[in-house]
């Protein structure tokens, strides 16, 4: 879809997903790294647990569909080559500290520059130093995640680089939309901290508007209504089961009860109750919580006796909402993802893995893994001879001087 678009990505961790999304959507992407390699090559985990510039699995996961070159933009030769490549580019994606874009090089009028900063470009935190968890903390979602009484919880996978990268892809393509209509390029700015904020799912907006605060807390108790868990232990792990008594969702809860009756975990008379009316009465303190407690106890027992797959199957049959809490092994084995064609083969080192590359299915376009993540400087010769008019000897000379 973007086959005519040339992207230069001055590779840093928060640009990686952005470049990859554009590459997946068909753009020709060149990742430019300093001669010693992008910082993204030093991100764990590593192939076989052995570190190395070609062994970062985070690098492999976020750099497919790119060619990779190296150049030292602090040298006159490096700057001249970068300027030449910028001249031919449609989009440049870079992470910047402070005000300066494109290493200070001139910006052609049609060029789209997508700058990713940690905080605002010129505000009070512009000079802040940030790493991934610092940005996630600044985005507030950890303040709301996890059980109270213990520290906030985090993913064991960096998230700010993902949030910023995904947002930068949108920003760059929005600018492309503008250029398609109006003819002009422009600079678009993405702040990684702001990119992490949607993970609070709107909870943030209530503080200034009189609503409840978004904090980690035990769910508020309404009358005698018991706490309603969302995740249940089952025979081979855990399952998410949506239990709610709000009008839009109470039907689902009623159907969970039908399943529990069918399986012999719940008495039919409890399932026969009008759950919405019962819950309302319990919340108002007008009725005892016994039937709701009975229902939750039966669901807990029922889940414990069944596998993730059995609960999922039951949810389909009885039309309630449940899902297996999948591990990455479950994800890899999930037949439905295979049927959809989520996976595409990608070379990683000396082996080939099934990469979950196709984040969207288009009626007339297919995301393909056209090339695996590039090795360090793998395409320097190819790109600089084709694009910058260098001879192979000149490329070698620059390499000998450590410029490439």
């Amino acid at each position: 879809m973007l086959a005519d678009i040339r992207v230069l990505e001055l590779s840093t961790p928060p640009t990686m997903l952005a470049g990859q999304i554009l590459g997946d959507l068909g753009a020709e992407v060149i990742a430019i790294e300093p001669p010693q390699g992008s910082a993204g090559r030093r991100l764990a985990p590593f192939i076989d647990g052995r570190p190395g510039l070609e062994r970062s699995l985070t690098w492999h996961a976020l750099n497919r569909n790119k060619r990779g070159i190296t150049l030292d933009a602090r040298t006159p030769d490096g700057r001249a080559l970068l300027a030449e490549l910028i001249e031919q580019a449609d989009i440049v994606i870079e992470a910047v500290e402070g005000e300066e874009s494109l290493c200070g090089l001139a910006r052609p009028e049609r060029l789209i520059v997508c700058d990713v900063t940690a905080f605002s470009r010129s505000g009070p935190k512009a000079a802040y130093r940030a790493t991934d968890p610092v940005l996630v903390a600044a985005g507030a979602s950890p303040a709301m995640a996890g059980p109270p009484g213990r520290p906030p919880i985090f993913f064991p996978v960096p998230q700010a680089i993902m949030e910023a990268g995904a947002e930068a892809a949108v920003a760059a393509l929005a600018a492309l939309g503008a250029r398609d209509r109006l003819g002009c390029g422009q600079r678009v700015d993405v702040q990684a901290r702001i990119a992490t904020m949607p993970a609070t799912l709107g909870r943030l907006v209530s503080a200034r508007s009189g609503g409840p605060h978004g904090r980690r807390m035990e769910p508020p108790r309404m009358g005698a209504m018991p706490a309603i868990p969302g995740i249940y232990e089952c025979r081979d792990g855990h399952a998410v089961v949506t239990v709610a008594f709000a009008p839009a969702f109470v039907g689902l809860t009623q159907r969970i009860a039908e399943w529990l009756v069918e399986e012999g975990f719940l008495e039919a008379e409890v399932a026969a109750l009008d759950f919405m009316a019962t819950a309302r009465a319990v919340m108002a303190g007008e009725a005892p919580a016994t039937p709701i407690e009975r229902f939750i106890a039966a669901l807990t027992t029922g889940c414990k006796a069944r596998t993730k797959a059995e609960i999922t199957e039951a949810s389909k049959r009885h039309r309630f909402m449940a899902a297996p809490v999948m591990t990455m092994a479950d994800v890899a084995a999930f037949e439905h993802y295979r049927e959809r064609g989520l996976f595409a083969p990608q070379a990683v080192g000396d082996r080939t893995v099934e990469a979950p590359a196709r984040f969207a299915q288009f009626s007339n376009y297919e995301i393909a893994v056209r090339r695996p993540a590039p090795g360090l400087s793998e395409h320097t010769l190819e790109v600089l001879t084709q694009r910058a008019g260098l001879s192979p000897t000149e490329v070698q000379a620059l390499f000998a001087q450590g410029i490439l």
Partner: protein, 403 residues
């Protein structure tokens, strides 16, 4: 100045978050977006909080407003033939159509891509569900972002190793997915500009969520390592790097001083407690992680998160408060960036919504407005877009089509 996509038309019949948030991205770029909804079965997001002043009400949900900011409301019952015809005619002139019902339901409603694209071959249609349309489990499978997070592998990765998983905050895939939808739509628009070709985009929210977790997926696919939850911030390759307790109820600060210069800065600020020569090297700090963390926690515990953040940042140490919502609103950097926008709404009154997620320097986003009340522009849309006269609109209203 003209906005990037000014003049393009979006019909958004999605509900809850993913579809409508994706349509908000387009609305901010200048698209004229119609939110089609029926009062007979309103967007369930209207029933979910947080609510203005904590008081529930169909027009009081702040989540609804931030998700639907800037759209125009059309009340229409697509279960009636006349209502369906209205939506079909609007989509026939639209550039983008977004739906997020249970996968396949849209076909049953008589609004399938096959049918709509016959009248409008350039149409870009988005269908999004937890597991998408394609694949045996997709059609008919409904769920929320909680379900999506579980299928994405996210739920299992969040929580304490000694407890059951708790998952990330809220329906997490709702936050992740709209970026993949917006990117896909914008790429499709670019292609359409060149070729006139539209397309149907099928996005499974669980698959979008997985894109944020691919390092863990590759660890399994290549190394056979099944990533597990680690509880609080924990990185075996970085020390000190963690969440440290601060003065106040449930207040924390993240400090990441694994880099040599950050460690030097941290030592300068904290002083004696971190002076032990055993901590001079990274290896020393990795081996003495618990002790370094204990001493650092003692130092942070008597200070507020902001005091720690500011003292450490002045010394070049990456650190930030684990912000709570009040801090997010008073944050000087977000204020400087103009991130929050004041909007006025007939029911909610003056309130604050997050503005666009990024800044365009050449073609600014349109000003942020509140979300529409159900059907607040019905007559204007029917007259303006479909050329209906007052009499016809009144008749449809009387027949219950426009509610």
């Amino acid at each position: 100045m003209v906005a990037a996509l000014e003049g393009l038309k979006v019909v958004d019949i999605g509900w809850i978050m993913v579809g409508p948030v994706s349509a908000r991205y387009l609305t901010e770029l200048g698209c004229a977006t119609i939110k089609a909804e029926t009062a007979k079965r309103p967007d369930p997001l209207r029933g979910l909080g947080p609510f203005r002043d904590g008081q529930p009400g169909l027009e009081r949900s702040l989540s609804y407003h931030l998700t639907n900011a800037g759209k125009r409301g059309l009340a229409v019952d697509v279960k009636s033939e006349a209502g369906l015809d209205i939506v079909r005619r609007l989509v026939a002139q639209a550039d983008i159509f977004v739906e997020s019902f249970t996968p396949g339901a849209i076909d049953g409603m008589g609004l399938s891509y096959e049918m709509l694209s016959k009248a409008n071959p350039g149409l870009i249609m988005v269908s999004t569900g937890i597991l998408g349309r394609k694949g045996t489990m997709g059609l008919g499978m409904s769920g929320t972002g909680m379900t999506g997070s579980a299928y994405a592998g996210a739920t299992n990765l969040m929580g304490w190793p000694d407890q059951a998983p708790v998952g990330p905050y809220g329906p997490w895939t709702d936050a992740v997915t709209p970026r993949f939808i917006a990117s896909s739509v914008l790429a499709a628009l670019h292609r359409r500009q060149q070729t006139g070709q539209g397309c149907h985009i099928d996005i499974a929210q669980a698959e979008a969520g997985l894109q944020f977790l691919t390092p863990a997926y590759f660890d399994y696919a290549v190394n056979g390592v099944v990533a597990e939850r680690v509880g609080g911030l924990s990185d075996p390759l970085r020390a000190p790097c963690g969440t440290y307790p601060c003065a106040g109820a449930d207040r924390w600060v993240v400090i990441d001083a694994a880099a040599a210069d950050a460690w030097t800065g941290l030592r300068k600020v904290v002083g004696e407690a971190l002076a032990d020569p055993a901590f001079d090297t990274l290896v020393g700090r990795l081996r003495a992680r618990a002790e370094v963390d204990r001493r650092l926690a003692e130092w942070t515990a008597t200070r507020t998160p902001t005091e720690v953040e500011q003292a450490l940042q002045r010394a070049g140490v990456p650190a930030h408060a684990v912000c709570d919502d009040e801090e997010m609103f008073s944050d000087p950097d977000l204020t400087h960036a103009g991130y929050y926008r004041e909007v006025d709404d007939p029911v909610v009154g003056r309130s604050w919504l997050p503005g666009p997620q990024y800044t365009m320097t050449g073609t600014p986003h349109v000003p942020t407005r509140a979300g529409p009340c159900i059907g607040d522009c019905t007559a204007a849309i029917l007259a303006g877009e479909l050329g209906m006269g007052e009499g016809e609109i009144a008749r449809l209203k009387a027949e219950g089509v426009l509610s």
